[in-house]
């Protein structure tokens, strides 16, 4: 199906979580949407999009980045053409208006048909979404990223709940390493998710071993369609 001139936005407000607005981005394939999205990107972003090898990856990037641009421009009261993005050491993007870093934080995640964007005033937001794709190697993957207690939880899950448990743990952990901006260059097995969250609590607090003075809030946003999580600092030194 090809929608033409009356294409509605492919994103919308999904939920509010403690000062952060989270938008859902529909990543279904529509040529007209892709074209509208690409038109909103600047030169650097268009070049990045062209480098991506898979059509799916190009679509995820363009649809999420274009939605992010519209939302940030609205919030910051600027024009799309004034916006650009910089990248921290491990690739975490931040926004610039007329070349100067903007006082707003955001994070983006995409998985399958679902993109999520968190925007807020918090200093370092981390967000992750994971469609629960069936796999045969959950425990094997878990051995490289989960702590001992998390691996035990996964091993205790029966066949029906294994993917729920795996993607929940994964998204919680990835939200934390995306909040701090390191991605997987920070040893993921060394991150022990809050014990209460392993028992099912929907939110908790976390301290990175190398940053003992900072407390991070972790929220489980998982729902029927996907696992998802949000992390941000509640105290900064």
């Amino acid at each position: 199906m090809l929608i033409t001139t009356t294409e509605p936005p492919w994103w919308g407000r999904w939920r509010e979580a403690d000062g952060a607005t989270i938008l859902h981005v529909d990543l279904s394939a529509y040529a007209a949407r892709d074209a509208l999205a690409v038109a909103l990107l600047d030169e650097a972003e268009q070049a990045r999009r062209r480098r991506l090898l898979a059509a799916r990856a190009r679509r995820e990037f363009a649809l999420c980045r274009a939605a992010l641009r519209v939302v940030l421009a609205e919030r910051l009261g600027c024009d799309n053409s004034q916006l650009s993005f910089g990248y921290l050491e491990h690739g975490k993007p931040f926004a610039r208006v007329d070349g100067r870093r903007a006082a707003i934080d955001f994070n983006v995640s995409h998985s399958g048909l679902h993109g999520l964007i968190a925007v807020g005033e918090h200093a370092q937001i981390g967000l992750d979404v994971e469609e629960r794709r069936p796999r045969k190697d959950f425990e094997g993957i878990g051995s490289l990223v989960f702590s001992t207690a998390e691996r035990q939880l996964l091993a205790a899950a029966d066949d029906r709940s294994e993917s729920q448990v795996f993607y929940r743990l994964w998204s919680l952990k990835e939200a934390l390493i995306k909040a701090i901006g390191t991605g997987f260059s920070l040893a993921p097995t060394g991150i022990e998710l809050p014990a209460a969250m392993l028992r099912g609590a929907r939110s908790g607090e976390y301290r990175f071993a190398h940053l003992p003075a900072e407390t991070w809030k972790l929220i489980d946003l998982g729902e029927r369609r996907f696992a998802a999580a949000l992390a941000y600092p509640v105290t900064l030194p």
């Binding site: 990856a57 190697d137 994964w170």
Partner: protein, 76 residues
């Protein structure tokens, strides 16, 4: 292609859902597989070549060629 590159190519074709052939010099960041997929693949590479690397060590490789060179330097 070296023997190591061949073995990696087979691992990729058998396990990753890519709609293009693996290229030794394309950056992993431009292949843009999901992080779950990346760690799952890294686990297979670890097993195939008995590397014993941790998840955080995979970020040192930006391309397949760098991974091939690392494996070959370790004696395959």
């Amino acid at each position: 292609m070296s023997n190591t590159a061949d073995r990696l190519g087979t691992l990729i074709r058998d396990n990753l859902d890519l709609d293009h052939d693996p290229d030794l010099d394309v950056k992993f960041s431009d292949v843009a597989i999901s992080s779950v997929e990346a760690v799952a693949f890294f686990k297979l590479v670890n097993e195939e070549f008995s590397l014993g690397l941790a998840a955080e060590e995979c970020r040192q490789f930006e391309t397949l060629r760098q991974l091939v060179d690392f494996i070959d330097a370790r004696g395959g």
